[in-house]
Symmetry: C2
């Protein structure tokens, strides 16, 4: 028979901390605290499997459940010495949810359950305090009605306020037992009014109602949204904890509080928390009364209100200090605890790992390693790699006022303010004049790169987390809010309207790329301080990881940033980004408009010295670290104007015939440019383009080799290969250029030629391709696009898909390990079978996504490459992946 | 030691007919004829492996080759009783290419090799005919100089003409021995002049020169082009046949000729051919003299010129008849033979299976089966499935004059003439008035379907063999020439220019969709006659095949055509094609422009009865055969206008607000529509669309079931599935609609829900998907697009790729078995593992491509589905695939 219910009580429990999947976090830790001998009110946990069975079975419970609950309840009754529903000596219980992952405030709780018109009198008699008993009852009715019966709590608050007004009272504590008894009657009448039925008087009915409501709350909208945002699978379910009530509201020797064993904001080793005398837990959370500080030190620092617990309840406080130190030592992590003092006796209601800021997480991990509580690998494992993003960018001053006018996607972290401009050219021009600007576009394209670089931040009204704007901004470390759909951007009039408000060109806006908020005016920001803890922990991570971490970069600035963040090479230098510079785009367009090979060569000859200088700069900065350079990838029409106006403008400014420009634009137009004439297909059609690029690379490598006295070994990467033959043809041509350069200079050249694996066919035929390629770099962006048949630029429906649960995560953010991942795995296996030492890396956006990095470690890639600002994240994720034991993480 | 040379002579040979891969077709058949005891001049074959080794080894021969040739040559000398290069009794040889596959006229031949200034005298003495000897010598010098030395033959023809003029002669035969001796001197002087060296006099040098030239000709442009057009791999190489010369030009008792054992044009069982007295083979081929008929019957019918061989050389003719009958009985196929009569003696120079028209192939196969020469499976195997296309469409009258003005791709077979129109609307209007029109477009889109249907044929200046125009035209059986790049189409002025010539609207053009030619004016056509042989053979094919053949059809006309051609169901009914009808597109647009769900439902309600009637029609026509209906697939913007002009026009004609229309068009715009918001993604976003379609299908099925007294079992197919969850969600909704319809009508519904497998991810996750899907249909068009990352609409570079040998075949025409095929195989395996009986079919363009059909048979699919006009091709290819023994076909 399945065990659906696990009991716990003083000094013993059927569960353990490591049974969190079955008992939920709260239930497992209550059991663990019992096992540690800490004072925990007895109770039992209904497992998460009941929740799963409940939903799998049309909201019906397993047959054996009722019997098991009865038995567990009897044990609690025995332990407490009271009886559930008993008129004289009633047992009251709390009913709380508790999933595998913490979902604070997302699900429902019922306290004081077991009270009814009869038991309330028994409670009053036994407590010797009718006021306490009726206060508990009226709280119970309100909470139960809200959570279980679906009667909004404002009804009861209104009644309470009306009553207080009538009696001329201001505080709830001024209510007498009689007042509360009247309120109970009024509350019950309200329930009958709203529900057409009496408030349930049977304690058993109350219990089943509350259990059903908790399970039901697993599917409420708040919970669904929270799970989606935090990647928590629906299948996990929640447990339900039923526990004997203890009361912090039984007078001035009673209290309730919450605490962190260290400061969750800074990580300092200070006991930190707050409490309220004569109150129930909900009062602390609700924020109706201002809580008091726990410690004398905090009180002296002016935190909180009134006397400290240390001062007011020294005995209970002493016990609490003992308990928290025991818990931190036992769990070897900072704990977030809840407690109640009932008539001087301390009761522990919860312990769990405390949430903390990224900064605190670093300090706590490094401190605990120093204290010998954990080792370095554990310290490294404690930090959520994604949280590092918070530390690397300026953030909004948390104390500053802000007027949010719109909300988009948090596309690239950091906060930025600037004057609104609507064109990349103006952004560049104003930035050159020392102005701070914010580039606002419907969406961005490669032509906007210079403006994005010049701007403080980027705001778009279209596009998702992996739109052009988002990807490029993250790469540059520019804050970006994308897809702010409520903005109406009018290029023609150079204005933007939102909710009837008009923002004009040069008005100042602030964006928060970490929250997606768009604010009027300039909101002050604070700059990141990379503490010594950061460097210490990253150093430990570097000792632990096997995967190398490279960066995707093409500008000297990005390369320098990435090196500062610890990049060990460039995994992807996108040469086309070097072509959009104002000086160069003219030559690029001449090349595209060339009527014949000679004209094309002439245009390319103009680009050669510039490309060479690009590579000289990069090789110098990277100082001998590997540099992988992808030859031209985008379709040529990306370099041409789109609209008639743009054509006219460019024709006028460059002296090219407008009609010729138009015809070429039409001729090069593609219905699906992502699947068009690009990548190595261009290299095959126009050999001279790749030849120019190869020459620039080789000449730069020789120049920097000579300068540095150390051979630079560039890695030339061919994009969009689908067949080995494509690579064969292009490698032969590159080798020919190398032979030419060697012939001209007499210097020895060392280089590698490899390929992107970014098409399903290339992955499948990797065995063949590896016979020519000297390395593979998995271009998981395009591989995801083709494997799913989804264009990143058009994937507006993906967010809906995630919300509707069609897919768990956006596959452009986190690698789809089942589908795309199988192709990567196949390619790695087949590539290695054909050429055992072949170098394997990944250079899609996924290179900076922690779970994708874990996957890369699992299949044994040699490196990941990501945008500069994600390098620390990748380093940490790689270290965690290296040290992770195979386990059920889900 | 590798055997590089295979000898043959009277009554014995080292080779056999089945060694064609090694000896080439000609060499293998020469050996076989020797083994049959037929009169063949002795010789030897240098194998195709020498050719392969030659190219693999920088154009060097294997070391052992020279010794083996010497030995083989000695055997020939012994057999003939003459000596190569001997002054008194010289052996002369021919040197000819001969590959595995016939490449007629594509490679080079040298005759009379071994003649020089000395041996010519010996030949003259032994033949007693100096004129013959010098005639042979001057022919040899001209041919050798042309083929081996690279001196164009016109130089020699000029000298010959000059000489004849000077002597006042008109015919070559009037030249005397002295004339010819003078010409030999003049030819040699010309060679020295052009070459700066003497004409080679050493017979051995001559032989090696000729062998080298034949191998070299494997890589000449003609040969490369021919191979590309006929799918012959470069790796096959050619063999070289060196054979003792026999002379048809030794007087009036000598002759040379070619013959077919049956009529290659009609297939009739008539000995058919022509010959020339006192001539060498080249004279027949060159067409300088008009050849004479072989048989008296042919002469009486007025074929050829002069007396027949039967009349003029009765003995040799009698021997030839014996030989041809023996050959046809031995090879059990119609033979194409070459022979020479030297002084009354018959010599056989070649036999091979004769090329024939599709019509002749059918008749010969059926007749030979009736004669007991072959069995039915062999008869079926004899027909090239692709050739059936010739039989099903009107073709140009071969005798008609034609003025070709442009050439495009032969996108859909058949010939058509009509008045040029540039819009689909005008095509429809004029066709309704009884006019024949030809629709001329830059490219077509789904909006043009009604015009394509109305037109006699379609001509586009852009797009490949698998462009929209090509695919749709083939589906409809409309002739189409696509991608005729030299056309300049000017919609604005309604004209088209090509090579300076202007074609105006309503001018008449003719296109030949089988050749890609575009002609001025109306060229007469002849209609196909489907002979009894066609029906007989297709009947045999049906008995043999395992694979079912369905059709891709959505209109009643197409469905009827397909049934006439033997379709066993509909494998793909594209419901969106039903939405472009003028009456419906308005409702479709209302649906797209709907501001909310109610408006959308209202628009869909208008479409419901029309869709239902569509399905009623189809179910009636298909009379119980399975019908697979794909729910809406294309992105919604395909139904909206593109340009501002179109928007204005539609706004005006439908009363929709132009600005609203424009905004919706902008909002729905996609960068890569192929990878956009389409397929099941629409179904997920707009449940009501698929619900309407499902209801239409179910109601139609019930209506026709009631009518016919037999249950119609529709197959509902969900497109573009990437995850099982998508299918789960949509199947649940379809099941709900079915339950509703059942509830309303009380009738029992039987149906299946399945999915397209057309994304790499779907193929990889087929095991999961098969847990929900009741059938898979492989959409190999989209699967090829995503696996290769190539958009069919933009694949302009694919033709270059084929020409440059980057890929062997256009993967949209013939399934890429290595890449796309692996995904199909994986999906079939995983799908069957999850659900053993799952029905598997293919509905891409590949369903009508013979080699792809073979692949489908190999992996055990249940059916292929193709456009109506390809149904017979698929039936035949399926039969061949079923009966094919595993063999090295390559």
């Amino acid at each position: 028979m399945t065990k659906w219910v696990y009991g716990f009580g003083r000094g013993a429990a059927e569960g353990r901390a490591d049974m969190r999947n079955l008992l939920g976090g709260k239930g497992a830790n209550l059991a663990e605290m019992c096992n540690l001998g800490l004072p925990v009110p007895p109770g039992f946990t209904i497992t998460t499997e009941v929740c799963t069975a409940f939903y799998a079975n049309d909201r019906n419970y397993p047959d054996e459940l009722a019997g098991q609950i009865d038995q567990a309840l009897a044990a609690v009754e025995q332990s407490v010495g009271a009886k559930f529903g008993d008129a004289d000596n009633p047992l009251l219980v709390s009913v709380r949810s508790g999933g595998r992952a913490s979902m604070p405030g997302m699900m429902d709780t019922v306290l004081n359950l077991g009270l009814n018109d009869t038991t309330v009198a028994g409670l009053a008699a036994r407590a010797g305090d009718p006021r306490f008993a009726y206060d508990s009852y009226r709280r119970f009715i309100q909470m139960y009605s809200d959570v279980v019966l679906g009667i909004d709590h404002h009804h009861f608050e209104d009644l309470l306020e009306t009553h207080k007004e009538r009696q001329g009272l201001t505080l709830d504590t001024e209510l007498t037992a009689d007042d509360l008894q009247d309120l109970v009657a009024a509350f019950k009448a309200k329930v009958q009014d709203e529900l057409g039925a009496l408030f349930p008087q049977d304690a058993g009915d109350q219990l089943w109602g509350a259990v059903g409501a908790v399970f039901g709350s697993w599917m409420n909208n708040r919970a669904i949204t929270y799970r989606r945002l935090h990647d928590i699978p629906e299948s996990w379910g929640t447990a339900v904890n039923v526990q004997a009530m203890v009361f912090g509201n039984m007078g001035d020797d009673s209290a309730t509080g919450v605490a962190f064993t260290r400061d969750p904001s800074t990580g300092e080793k200070l006991f930190f928390g707050e409490f309220l005398i004569n109150a129930q837990g909900e009062d602390v959370v609700a924020g109706i009364r201002t809580p008091q500080p726990l410690t004398e030190a905090a009180r002296e620092n002016g935190n909180g209100n009134g006397p400290s617990m240390e001062g007011a309840m020294p005995t209970a406080y002493g016990e609490l200090v003992d308990v928290y130190q025991k818990l931190e030592a036992h769990y070897r992590d900072m704990q977030d605890i809840e407690f109640t003092v009932q008539k001087g006796t301390l009761w522990m209601l919860q312990t769990r790992s405390g949430k903390r800021t990224a900064k605190a997480a670093l300090k706590i991990a490094v401190d605990m390693a120093a204290e010998g509580l954990i080792d370095r690998a554990q310290a490294v494992a404690r930090i959520d790699p994604a949280s590092l993003d918070q530390l690397l960018h300026p953030t909004l001053d948390p104390d500053a006022e802000r007027q949010v006018i719109a909300r988009g996607l948090p596309a690239s972290p950091g906060a930025a303010s600037g004057k609104v401009v609507f064109t990349a050219d103006e952004a560049e021009k104003m930035a050159a004049d020392g102005e701070k600007v914010l580039l606002v576009r419907l969406e961005t394209s490669p032509e906007d790169i210079h403006g994005m670089h010049a701007a403080q931040g980027i705001l778009t009204s279209r596009g998702g987390m992996t739109s052009h704007a988002a990807v490029v901004a993250r790469g540059m470390g520019r804050p970006c809010v994308s897809g702010a759909g409520s903005l109406r951007i009018d290029y023609k009039n150079q204005t933007m309207t939102v909710l009837g408000e008009t923002v004009n060109r040069h008005d100042i806006l602030t964006i928060d790329g970490a929250s997606g908020e768009v604010m009027l005016g300039e909101v002050p920001t604070v700059n990141p301080e990379l503490s010594g803890d950061f460097a210490t922990l990253m150093g430990w991570a570097d000792e632990l990881r096997r995967l190398k971490v490279r960066t995707n970069a093409e500008t000297p600035g990005d390369a320098e940033t990435a090196r500062k963040f610890g990049a060990e090479g460039i995994g992807l230098c996108r040469t086309e980004h070097m072509f959009f510079d104002a000086e160069r785009i003219v030559a690029v367009r001449e090349m595209i408009l060339a009527g014949n090979l000679d004209e094309r060569r002439a245009a390319l000859a103009k680009l050669l010295p510039m490309q060479r200088q690009d590579f000289v700069d990069l090789f110098r900065i990277m100082a001998g670290l590997p540099v992988t350079i992808r030859l031209l990838d985008p379709p040529l029409h990306e370099f041409l104007p789109k609209t008639d106006d743009e054509i006219a403008e460019i024709a006028a400014s460059t002296g090219v015939d407008a009609e010729k420009l138009r015809q070429r634009t039409v001729a090069l137009h593609e219905t699906n440019p992502m699947l068009g004439h690009r990548g190595c297909r261009l290299g095959i059609s126009y050999p001279e383009i790749y030849e120019m690029q190869a020459r620039a690379i080789f000449e730069a490598a020789l120049a920097v080799s000579a300068e540095a006295g150390e051979t630079v070994v560039p890695e030339l990467m061919i994009p969009l290969v689908a067949t080995r033959k494509e690579l064969d043809i292009l490698k032969e041509r590159i080798d020919a250029v190398a032979a030419e350069v060697t012939g001209e200079t007499g210097a020895k050249l060392d280089y590698q030629v490899g390929t992107m694996i970014e098409l399903p066919r290339a992955a499948l035929r990797a065995g063949e391709i590896a016979q020519t390629a000297e390395f593979f770099s998995f271009g998981t962006n395009d591989l995801t696009q083709t494997t799913f048949g989804i264009s990143r630029d058009d994937a507006t429906f993906l967010e809906d898909y995630v919300q509707q649960g069609v897919i768990e995560k956006d596959p452009f953010v986190s690698l789809d390990q089942d589908g795309v991942g199988e192709l990567v795995r196949i390619a790695a296996e087949r590539g290695r079978a054909a050429q055992p030492g072949i170098k394997l890396g990944i250079c899609g956006e996924h290179g900076g996504d922690p779970s994708s990095v874990t996957f890369c470690e699992e299949i044994g890639l040699d490196y990941v490459s990501c945008s500069p600002y994600r390098v620390p994240i990748a380093r940490l994720a790689a270290a965690q992946a290296s040290t992770r034991e195979p386990q059920d993480e889900s």
